[in-house]
Amino acid sequence: MRYAVLLSPQAIARVHSVLADNGAIDVLLDTRALLAELVSPHDEGLILDPALLSTSIADTIASSIAEYPRALIAYSSVTTAALESAVILAQRTSARFVFRGTPNERSLLEQAVLLLPDINLGNDLLVLLEPNLELLPHGLRRRLTTMFRNGDGPFTPDSLAAATAVARRSLDRNLSAAGFTSARRVIEAVRVASAFRAITASRTPLGHVAMVLGYKSKRTLDTQLKLLLDITSSKLRTDPLPSSEAANRLMIQLTAREPGKYAQSDRMPQKIPGSGRALKLVVDDQSNEDARRNASADK
């Protein structure tokens, strides 16, 4: 994979060391070269330091990426100049952000650089999942949309709940009401989708892809791929699935439930009228139907 970079020399050296033999970079010398690259894209990903961009350039980048979608990584230190441009990129693109200065910055950068999102897969998947996503509360919908677009998101249901400022039980309830199988399955799907391009379009060793994804070994990656895409990583590399097919398979695994089938009112324990503290247990739909039929027959 090739990346166009507009960074300070030190940051370029860091990107070089992270990429090793798994990709090549084209160094952009100034914003003029960046604008030229935006108009006629040669590279698959852009790695930029927002501190080197003015807010108007950041605006231009956002508009250009809306027109010609491609992966964007913002890699900078925390300064006012960097944050002013970074905010524009965060609000108008699905860029991944890596801030400099933390001891494990390298592993975060490696994740961002090697796991470039597949824009087509993300878009196809979002189109297929639109009816389900529509049923989610605004914050959760926005978060999941970003996660499917750029592969950057929490790795556990608990942190997903915290990141969307809802309780864990509410998260599960919202997801199941929207027809998603489970929060865990959504997170795994995002992880697998984020590795799709690294598996199909790069020469990064599959074991390394598994490691960057946070899996223990390639075998664990294969298990997840088999579960969600019904294909192993080696097979996917030799015979890549079209992104539309991959999106379809992911959608089926993500939405084993019909949206709205488990509406909140059906799942909440209900008080039996006139019976004090006793609660009627929630039963499956068939039993609900039978109970309703019996009640009408009694009347």
């Binding site: 925390v78 944050l83 801030f99 200065g101 592993s107 677009r149 929490p154 790795f155 608990d158 990141a163």
Partner: protein, 433 residues
């Protein structure tokens, strides 16, 4: 918010510089707390941030705490900014972690621990698992430096769990390395060794990038256990494999220099430090190596080399701790060469700086140095420092090394020394070393 360490530091501050530095940090944390609870309100918070910016002006230029605090107050107004991610939260947490690291660099470990604990808790509540893991990892180290072993172990364990949750095996394994370091620092070598072996095994399978760090820790353990040759050999072998990873490469070279000094080969150690000084990409690392080499020159080199090393610092901008150390090492060197007046002036300068910035260990060392100078003046001409090592001689094209104890190093160590000399020579031919 737990700010005990900050309040203690303010109560015990003995200089304006130290008070201003801690006060700016504390006010920044209070501003962060207020913004986190109520959101950023320009009418309320802008005045506070301006005030902090003024306080920061009084922190000496060149200190990392000044840069880090500056970045905290630049990030705070963006706290409520959201895009596809909570960019404001992430940037503030990162800036605070940088501030914690800056405090650590200056030896203010209790303050750093406070900052890390705060960031760890808040980031975890925000669902920023990766940053929370990072904060706990750093907290583990800060607690270890404060000899708070139990909290350190808890922090490392939490960092491990959060690292696994964040899908970042590197953090999880680094937390295990930290825990192993805790064990052997307290003298439990077998348990430390076992944990490191287990970590190495896992790293080999799931995260090879962390293997060099495990090796660095293993070498540290070997050195602490008195197996100097093994420590040198492990570190040297590591150097051959980490050509691309600058961070580990230069850390390994600095460690190797320390082990060579412990083994009794300061002249070879100086070569390793020279390599770092000439090629490390980070200015801080280069300066640190330069200071260490000056220490070796003060204790082992000739007077001419010592004077040349000292002169090299004339145009460097040093942090207060480094300035103090430089003055102290200079005093030690002058005393060794019987230049007692210069030694006295340098030691007194070190004492003033150490008192001003409250580096209590250095205050103690400077006072000891003054006593030593006084004693040396009265006895005069008695060599007080370790005997200097004769320069390595050449015989039939081979260099003959001799340790400070006079013993000849083993063939393995001689090979290490020769390789380092070759590396220095190669670098010298390209960089004018």
């Amino acid at each position: 918010m737990n700010i005990d360490a900050f309040l203690d530091s303010l109560a015990n501050a003995r200089s304006d510089a130290s008070f201003a530095r801690t006060a700016a940090g504390l006010t920044s944390l209070q501003a962060y707390d207020s913004i986190r609870a109520n959101g950023f309100d320009p009418f309320v918070h802008e005045a506070i941030l301006d005030r902090i910016a003024l306080d920061i002006e009084s922190i000496p230029v060149g200190t990392s705490a000044r840069v880090a605090l500056d970045s905290v107050i630049q990030a705070l107004p963006f706290w409520d900014t959201e895009g596809t991610i909570r960019i404001g939260h992430r940037s503030v947490y990162t800036a605070l972690l940088n501030y914690g690291q800056a405090l650590g660099d200056e030896g203010e470990w209790p303050l750093a621990e406070n900052v890390y604990a705060r960031v760890g808790m808040d980031a975890e509540l925000d669902g920023e698992t990766w940053l929370a893991a990072e904060a706990r990892l750093l907290m583990g180290r800060a607690c270890r430096m404060c000899a708070d072993w139990q909290t350190s172990q808890l922090a490392y364990r939490r960092a491990y769990e959060l690292g696994m949750d964040a899908g970042d095996m590197a953090i999880a394994l680094r937390a295990q390395i930290g825990e192993a370091n805790n064990l052997w620092t307290r003298g439990d070598f077998p348990a430390g060794k076992r944990l490191l072996a287990r970590t190495a095994h896992r790293a080999r399978h799931s995260c090879p990038t962390i293997l060099p760090r495990v090796t660095v820790a293993m070498a540290g353990l070997a050195n602490a256990a008195g197996e100097y040759e093994r420590a040198i050999q492990i570190t040297f072998d590591l150097l051959q494999t980490v050509a691309r990873d600058d961070e580990v490469r230069y850390q390994a070279l600095v460690d190797l220099a320390a082990y060579l000094v412990d083994y009794g080969l300061p002249s070879v150690a100086a070569k390793a430090l020279r390599l770092v000084e000439a090629a490390a990409p980070e200015a801080g690392v280069r300066r640190h190596a330069q200071l260490n080499r000056f220490f070796l020159a003060a204790h082992h080199d000739t007077e001419q080399e010592f004077t040349a090393s000292y002169a090299a610092f004339s145009e460097e901008v040093l942090a207060p701790r480094q300035q103090t150390q430089l003055a102290l090492f200079a005093a030690q060197g002058y005393r060794r060469f019987s230049r007692f007046d210069s030694a006295q002036t340098s030691a007194e300068h070190a004492l003033v700086l150490a008192k001003q910035y409250e580096f209590f260990q250095l205050v103690f060392e400077a006072e000891t140095e003054l006593h030593e100078i006084e004693a040396a003046r009265t006895v005069d001409a008695i060599p007080l420092a370790p005997a200097s090592v004769p320069p390595a001689r050449k015989r039939r094209g081979k260099t003959l090394y001799r340790s400070t104890t006079g013993a000849r190093p083993s063939p393995r160590i001689r090979r290490v020394a020769e390789s380092l000399e070759n590396m220095a020579r190669q670098l010298g031919s390209t960089d004018g070393l």
